[in-house]
Structure formats: C-alpha cells, structure tokens
Assembly symmetry: D2
Homo-oligomer: 355 residues x 4
Amino acid sequence: MIIIMKMGAGEERIQEVVAQVEELGFQAHLSRGEERTIIGVIGDERPVSPHVFELMEGVERTVPILQPFKLASRDFKPEDTIIPINGMRIGSREVTVMAGPCAVESREQMLEAAWAVKEAGVRILRGGAFKPRTSPYSFQGLGKEGLEILGEVKEETGLAIVTEVMAPEDVPLVARYADILQVGARNMQNFSLLHAVGESKMPILLKRGMMATLEELLMAAEYILSHDNYRVMLCERGIRTFEKYTRNTLDINAVPVLKGLTHLPVIVDPSHGTGRWELVGPVARAAVAAGADGLLIEVHPHPQRALSDGAQSLRPERFAQLMKELRRVAEAVGREIKLQTPNSKLQTSIPSMGG
Amino acid sequence: MIIIMKMGAGEERIQEVVAQVEELGFQAHLSRGEERTIIGVIGDERPVSPHVFELMEGVERTVPILQPFKLASRDFKPEDTIIPINGMRIGSREVTVMAGPCAVESREQMLEAAWAVKEAGVRILRGGAFKPRTSPYSFQGLGKEGLEILGEVKEETGLAIVTEVMAPEDVPLVARYADILQVGARNMQNFSLLHAVGESKMPILLKRGMMATLEELLMAAEYILSHDNYRVMLCERGIRTFEKYTRNTLDINAVPVLKGLTHLPVIVDPSHGTGRWELVGPVARAAVAAGADGLLIEVHPHPQRALSDGAQSLRPERFAQLMKELRRVAEAVGREIKLQTPNSKLQTSIPSMGG
Amino acid sequence: MIIIMKMGAGEERIQEVVAQVEELGFQAHLSRGEERTIIGVIGDERPVSPHVFELMEGVERTVPILQPFKLASRDFKPEDTIIPINGMRIGSREVTVMAGPCAVESREQMLEAAWAVKEAGVRILRGGAFKPRTSPYSFQGLGKEGLEILGEVKEETGLAIVTEVMAPEDVPLVARYADILQVGARNMQNFSLLHAVGESKMPILLKRGMMATLEELLMAAEYILSHDNYRVMLCERGIRTFEKYTRNTLDINAVPVLKGLTHLPVIVDPSHGTGRWELVGPVARAAVAAGADGLLIEVHPHPQRALSDGAQSLRPERFAQLMKELRRVAEAVGREIKLQTPNSKLQTSIPSMGG
Amino acid sequence: MIIIMKMGAGEERIQEVVAQVEELGFQAHLSRGEERTIIGVIGDERPVSPHVFELMEGVERTVPILQPFKLASRDFKPEDTIIPINGMRIGSREVTVMAGPCAVESREQMLEAAWAVKEAGVRILRGGAFKPRTSPYSFQGLGKEGLEILGEVKEETGLAIVTEVMAPEDVPLVARYADILQVGARNMQNFSLLHAVGESKMPILLKRGMMATLEELLMAAEYILSHDNYRVMLCERGIRTFEKYTRNTLDINAVPVLKGLTHLPVIVDPSHGTGRWELVGPVARAAVAAGADGLLIEVHPHPQRALSDGAQSLRPERFAQLMKELRRVAEAVGREIKLQTPNSKLQTSIPSMGG
C-alpha cells in the first residue's frame, strides 16, 4: 500500500503515519516529492483496511499495490487450469460448448433439447431446475422434480449436466444430479453460497454479476478456491449499462483481460449477454475469436413456448448451423471444437487441481 | 400488453398474432396505423411472457402496460404503510434515524456506540453480525456471538436492533435477536432469502441492489409482501455508476419516485451511498429534504479501529451534531425528528399491516 | 507518479525504468516491497504520459499522485470564488435560483415566464435560443431571433440572462445578449468551445456531461480558467445510469465532493436531473440541503405547449410555492435565498477574479 | 404513439386526451383494458412531443411506436450502403482496416507508420491533427501543420486519409487534406459540427459517444444524412461503464444490432474500445467475427514515445501479425481482407449514394 499525504502535511503528521505503519508490523518507506510526501507500506497489506490510514490527519488517500486476489491469479499459478468433464477438457485448446434450455419444463422438452444439442456435437447440457426470477409471478422452476428429470436425461443421453444452485442448503441435493454447479449472476456475491459450493468440491460455473467488476468476479472465485476447490470456470454473461436495446452489454474485453489475470477457464454466455436470439450467433463467434474457452448457449426446441428466456433461445436447427460456424472461427484462431459426438455414456471426471 | 407489428407485416401475420392472443384467453384489439399495426392484449398480462409474441413472424416488439408489481403499488394500497418499532412510527410524519457501527466487533464497542447514538436521540441501533465482504480475507463478522452481543446491548439500552441476515437458514436465529431484519444490497435478488424473511413476519429493511432498478427493488419487495408480510422498508443506499470519486452514487431521485409508486416507507443510507464520512452529513440532510422517511447511518466510536467501513463512519460527536442539523431540515420540510430519548426499555411493537 | 513493477521484475528492468525517469528530468525513488518494487517519480508529473513507463518491460502499472487539475483546485485557491451577477453574489452565503423556460419560443412566452419568476424572487432568467436536440426533427431553437427576444426581456424586466452557446463562432453574438454563457452537457468536452468561452471573459455556467466524471468536469473548467477567466460555475444536471425511471440520475454526492475539491460555485439543475416535473421540488430541496450554491430550474407558463422539455417544467404557481420551501431549507442549513425582488434595472456586474 | 391512461382515469379525462389527439391532426383509437384504457395515436408522431399528452390529467405515460430515425433505417433503405474509398468498398463483403497513429507528431513518424501499415495491406491511414484532450496540459495536436504532413504522406504513399475535425469552421480546411472526416466520440452530439460535415458531402466516420445509446448514434447519423450525405460509417469505440480495468467497454453487441437496424457500414475501434495494446488483437478478431465492416486500429512505430494513446497503440510488427490473423477470421465468417497492397497512387472515390 502507498499512503499519499496531503499537500503541506507537516512533519508531525508524517511521523504519526510512520508510527502507525510500524505499529501494524510493517516497514514504512518515505518519498518526499515536490508537492506531496508519499509513504510506502512494506509487507502483505491485504488484511489491513486502508481506512486505518485514510482517517489519520494529513492523509489524502491510499493506493493498494497488491492485487486483492491471490489463488485465482496467474502470479500464483501461471499455467492454465484444465477441468475435465465428460471427455472434454475445459480450458485446453478445445472450445467447449454447453447448451440447452433456460429452464427444465418437462421430461419431453429436456429430452428433445438434449438429443438435439448432442446431435450438434455438445456434451454438456444446461437446464435450470431452480430459477431466480425478478418477479414472484413468473415460473420459478420445477425444483427437485426438475433435477430428477435432468438425472434421467443424463442417464439416457450420456450428456453431462450444468445446472444452477441458488441456496447453500440445496448444494448436496443439486450435486447429486449435476456435473457442474452453476452460481448465477445474482448470486455472485452470495457468500454463504460461495462457501457451500467451494466445500462441495464440484466443478463450478461462476457467472459474473451484472454489475460486478472483473476484480470482484475474481474475488468471488477466490472464495471458492479458498476451499481448495480449483475447478472453477468464470462466465461472462453481459453487464448492465445504459444501453437499452439489448438486455445486457456483453463485455468482450473481459475475455482477454481474464485470460491474462487468471489461470481459470473463461466461458461466455451470449444468450444472456444479448437477450435476443438473432444476436446470439454473431456474439458467440466473437467470443471464440476473442479467446473464450467455452460457450453457454440457450437452445429450446420451441422457444415460443418456453417458460423463460424464450426470446434469447435458439431453435435446434439454428444452433446446429451455429456450431458449424463456431468450428470455423475456432480453427481460424488456432482452437478446436470437437466434431464427433460421444458414443459412450457419461465418463466420470476425476477431480484434479488444474491439469 | 401491446404488440407492435413490423412495417409491412401482412394480414396473415396479424391474424396469427390475434389467434395466439385469443388462445391464451385474452381479447385482441387492433389499431392500424400509417406505418404499423398495433395489437392490444386485453386482460391481466402479468403471467404471460412477452416472447410468446415477440418470436412470432411479423412482430417487432411488445410493450408492457401494467406495472409488474402489484402489492407494493399505490394503486393497490393508496395510504402510507406505517411500521411501529420501539415507539417510533416509521413511514409517518416522523423521520426515523437508525445508527450504529457497520459490524459488531465487541461488547464494549457496541455498548459505547449504542449509548452514544441513544444520547443523540436514536432508538434503533444498527450493527452487523454476519458481514458480506468482497474479499474472503476481510473480517466476516462475529456471527452468532455478534447476535448475542446485540441481544445484551438491546437489553441494557432499550434500543431496538436492525441487523443483516444473509442466508435463509439463519432467519430464525437472527429473528430471535433483531427487531428488524436487514436484507443487504448483494442479496436483494436472493430469492430464497426473500421468501424466508417474508415467512418470518418480521419487519424487513430491504436494501436496493447496487445494480437494481427501482422496478426491480419493488419486485423484490413484492416477494416479501406475497407472504403477507407488509412491514417492509425500502432502502436507497447508492447505485454503481462510472463515477469513481465516491464509492457509490446515491440516487436521490429514488426518494420521491418511490414515494410516488409505493406505500412502503423509504429509508436512505448516506454512509454506503457516499463511502466517505465527510459526505455523510450533506447527503443525509439532502435525503430528509427530499422526503425520506428515515436514515441508516454508520457511527463508530473509533472509526480508525473499525474492522469494516471505517472510512464512512461518523464519530459520535459529529453524529450528535448531524442529528441537530437533521432536525432543522426535517422541520423545514414539515417533518419531525423526535427529540427526547426513550426512558423505558424496549417497547414491543405489535405486528400490523401498514397503518 | 508511482511506477509499480511486476512481481519478479529483475534488477535490470528496474534500472531501465530508473534511467528513463532520470532522462525525463525527474528523480527516481525506490521502495523494495515483499512482492513488488515500486518507483516514485519526483517532480511535476502532469505533462508526462504514463504510457512512457507502462510500456516498458517489467512495469505493471502506474499511479498518478497529483490531481490533474490545478487552477480549479482548492489547493491552488482555498477561498470560495464569488461571482456577482445582477446584485446576487453566486458562491456566497446566498443561494441563487435561476429559472425560466427551456427554450425561447416567443416574446410573449418569455415575458410571461420572466415576470412570473421575477415575482417569485428570481433575478436570473434562463432560456435557450440555440437548442441541442437529439433529433434533427425536433425544434432547434429560434437562434438569433431568440437572442433578440432575450435582450428585450432583459431590458424590460431587469433580469440577467443565462443562455446556451453551442459553437465557438457564436460566442461573440451570444455574449452580446447574455450575462452568463451556458456550456451544455453535450458540449462539456467540446474543447474549441471551452477555449472560446474562456477567451470571452464572461461568466460561464459549465454543465457536467451526462457521462463525465467529476474529475473530467474539473478538467473542462480548467480549460476555461487557463484563459484567466475565473468566473465559472459548475452545474450538476444528472448523469446517465442504468436506471430507466428517471431521465437522468442526479448525483447529489457531487455537491459536497465538488465543494471540497474546488473553489468554484456549484449549481444544481433538478429539471434535467430528474426529467419529471413532480420530482423537481423534492430534488431541488435536497440540493440546497446538500450545500448547492444555486439552482437552475425550468419554469414554463404553459408546459403542455412547450416546444421542448415540457415534462420537466414547472408551472409558475408551483415554482412560486417551491421558492418558499427552498427558503425554509436554505435557512435550516445556514444559507439564505433573498426575498425581495430587485426594483432597479439590471445592475452591471464587475468582472473580478473570485472574491 | 400510444397513450396509457392511469388506472381509474374517468371518461372525461379520456375524452380530453382524444380531443387533444384530434386537435393535433391525428386519429385516436381507444382500447379499454381491464385496468387501464390506452389510446393509440394514428399518424406520423415524430414531430410531436410526448409531454403534450403526458402532462394531461389522467395520463400515466406514453410509448413511442415509430423508430425516431428514418433515413438511417433499413425500413427506409433495405440494401447495404457501400462507400468506395481508394479502391476499397466499405460496407461490402470486404473488411476494411484503417490504421495509423493516434496523433500526427512529425513527418518522419507519419511516414514510418504509413509505410508500415501499407506494407501490412492497409489503404486508409489514420492520424489526428486536431486532438480533443481531457486536459489542457496534454498535447493538443499539430493543427494545420499536421494536416499538411498528412497531405504529403498521402501524396507519397498513395494511402487515403481519415482524420478528425473538431469544429464546424475547420471542416473546409480538413476536407482539403482528408478522404474521410472523423467526428470524434466527444462530438457525436455536437450538432453544429454534424450539420457542417453533412454539408461537406465528404465520407464521414461517426464515432459513438461514450455515453450514447445506439438510438442516439443513429439520430446523430440522421443529422448528417438529412444533408443528403449518405456516405456515413458508424464506429463503435467502447462505452463508459462501471468496469475500471479497461478504459472503455467495447459493446460487441452493437455490431449485429446496428447491422440489423441500419444500412450504414459499421466500423469497430478496438484501440479505444480497450485502451490497452495487449487486448487490441483479441477484440479486433472478435469484431470481425461479429460482422464488422471495418476496423480502426492505432499503430505507432514507437508507442513509448507517442504523444498520445501510446498504451493502446500496436507496434508495426504486431500489427502485421494481427492482419494475418484477421484475414483468417474474416474468411471463417465468409468475409475477406484484401491481401495485395495498391501499386497505384490514391484512386479518387466517386461520391454516390449507397451502392
């Protein structure tokens, strides 16, 4: 941390700050500039609140030097974390596409969707049993029944399952059916939930809050990693801005920024990131071109009848077409989307830190 | 709901939409304009997803007509809801100030803070036992021990307690010690928690998410009200914008907007809304002048030693001075902040819907 | 400026940076921390681009130490700048209300508005002859004819005039009729215009851009001040956020922040800051309570017939009522809004730097 | 336009609104819903201010039906506008890359940059002679001298020139040297300038304001088009959000949205859109994958010595490498970036509306 003194702060004020720095067990290092004196705090500053200094007389402000996240940083773990799921290696040269309906509505709907996305080359099926909805009057998901449907569909199709968990007490239940636990955007800073999914040791898809900075996203991941659960995927799904034409503004910059800051895989959700099915294709292609490790795409056999997010869901035939386009873009940037669909039933993934 | 057809959408497309409207049990009402045809949907549209129509051929977009919230609206309940707590009547002509430290740190700290704010005229003490923190490396609150301290302080000083609950399973525990349950900004759309606090029948202080529109705040309240728990206070605590000088941007417009849309009391938190103690006074005065029904202010006996939010906490003597200023502003706008401190121990508030 | 080296940056990298610092004529000052080395640059850093260092190998980032604005800062000029206009002293203990229609529409409309606001105690009339409009199909203002109307109204009523200038070449023309030149929000960073109004030596009302930080507002003021024109008022008029219920989000925090950072008077425009007439009163009261030096309020004799901004304009009788309320709030915070209307014709203001 | 009446608005209120609609020369069309009556206004609503109705008693709000832009819309002109410049056809199947330094600093710098980008396949050189800078203490551009340098470089290399014009009175001067006039983000709503560049009949590169919605961008284009100047390119260059890690947030959604709404070519500026050279490559690839018609990229022979925007400028060798990557991505999405560099001197482009 660096402490910047006010213009004209006298020697006494400076010595008080130095004394406080030393009292906290750090070393102080002074630079006397033309207008201001600055005091460097030498040591691991993370546990110290900057207001300890900011409230002292003569102090103008403080500047943190260290990144607040540690386990999530490339400084801590330079090589990419690779998460094996159902024969895919998320975070490797392969680009992983996860697809399926927003919500589990019925066995028939899920099976139809599952076979369709599998046919297009997908090995991980999405589908929500617990649905966070802005309005109490909207469809809230099938809950446990939805999980059971997911279990049956997984059994039948061999697809792995990614599904959202909304409350700490539901983690064990959801973990019984899912291969990846999704923490939704609205819960990115639900710290009780972050602890619970960390404890679960399951692979986690952590969605960026719609008004969370990238630093906050990495701090949320840090909560999970601190339980020694390193199988965390970060998901950019659009942020909230003043622009009203799209539901959210997909932050494409986030992809290369995160790839630089962290070793964790970066997934993009172009469905929520745009909110309109006709924009999903172009933005999905952009995400792959920008270096995303995977995509999360809403596909519904009958979007018009969907109980949620129909407006942003692709029909299966459009999705199959998109998969072909994505393969070409992936190749153009030196990546790969595997063609063959898995013949075997679900392959159990072996937990391992990174790869 | 109104459905706006694309320019040049043919008669066949229009009839398909009309048929769909009628199939869903509504009446359709056509207006043929010069460039576009619009179709009115007559009936309670709230349970219908607009994408049912938006995905039909020839449809450009839909426009909702009804406000999505119902129980929270003035249309539903025109008169102000008044919530009696410890001799105060929140939502009445009185302006209610709640104050205290960000976090419960120790029995001594809480008692010192409690007597100081009581001395200044406050009857409701704030203090967090469960603390949502961006970083897993920051102080996370004392938990159950913190609640017990709050219980003792309440017993000793006669102050009522407002404190945050972060997880549904903690609601019964927190309710044992608190007079008002606070739902924090990061949990405004933690729907499991909203259901749980609704069920508790306790008075609720619902903080606006830093990313939440006023409509979303009212929808979150609607979750609680739908459990027939009408004792909900809405709290504006600053939203996230591009401005970097302050921690958040306090949305002062929210005060008169909410007072117009809803019957629920509106509280303002100038401490989080600014993030800097030297701004708390001016913004607190502004909130009262704008018509807020109450304030939530961080006061700490020794801000420099505070384990969280020290930079935005007032010292007791500054707070006492601010209370005097607030009284003058309240009077200038035809409101009142009661002078005398309560002699008696905590008065039990009788649950009642509104006033 | 402080230069933060990457973790593990070697001695060679550090010495290269030191050499570059010294080559630019500064002194370098090293602090070797546990994880990173930081290098202080001693001297006036303002003219140096940080990328000179940021692009060097081994450098992580740089942190500016000095505020980028100088003439506008309280460090440079601690006492409040007071701008005398038509018998008012803007920036003093008095709170100055400027009011009138958004646009000059006709001689009759302006006269009616002028007498109404004068009656309510106002001495400075607003009214736009040049109107920046989002759409080329909207009313664009009467231009020169509008200025002539303003001139006549000023002559007849003795009110001073504040009106917008949109292009550098119009500055001399507008200056002939106006007492205060307004630079609109959309032109806050129209640097050619800032130079021109600086050169004019006229009092300037500089509106904050709807997505400008406070630092950028102060830098825009700095352009004007650098022409030795110190009669600059800063105007908070709402910023653009995600909230859709109001036209803009009035940043009430800006008032005490600016009063702390700069000696220039701070004006608030609750009409644009809310966009709805029914919110203007509460927010105007809030602005005075927060410490604003003045208000800019849209008043129209017949809002429904207004050619622009009708929805946010007050009728004269509501405005007169508001003036009474504002007086009470001003007194409650130790300020004053003068009661008596001026009998005399326009008093010429004598240019002077600050007070 | 649709007028939504308040719940419970009586027949008298409804008839007053109908009378007002008809007085303005429109037809009124009533739908009586369960909770509210809505009134359709039939006719071209664009010139009518909604507040005419919004201020009437009993009216809750109004909803516009028509898009506010006309000439820029696909409804008006369905086929893509193609703008021929120096042998390129901007807006066609080709993707056009424009590149060069942020600012003209010297003849040597510009020539070095020009030959480098030409070598990489570029035919349009960027470089600013007039520079809008946040601080009056930063380099403000060489002005007329800079234009003369651009003229010489154009003569020598055969590259076409895109350069910014900041003030209406400079348009004729800049037009003498430039092939494309750039309107910068800060001037997107400088309406005097929009009129002047419209009048010039030159090709225009119109940058989206950092605070502007896509609708406002299209309205700004409408100003230019209304002068019968159809050679307008829209440029997404990042918007301002709460995210602090990048200078701006590039709105990748804008590319497919604009391609859907308008016939004008869409250019992306990944240099300003990210603010960091290491992010330019991934985001440039994303823009092409999303369907952009062109890119505007900052390239500087010696970024470290650049007088502005050095941190986001690519070195020539990195840029040459990026051009190869972009070609592969363009092909993957069915587009093309031409390989051969032009042997001939500048080919004069023939003004024509669209293609």
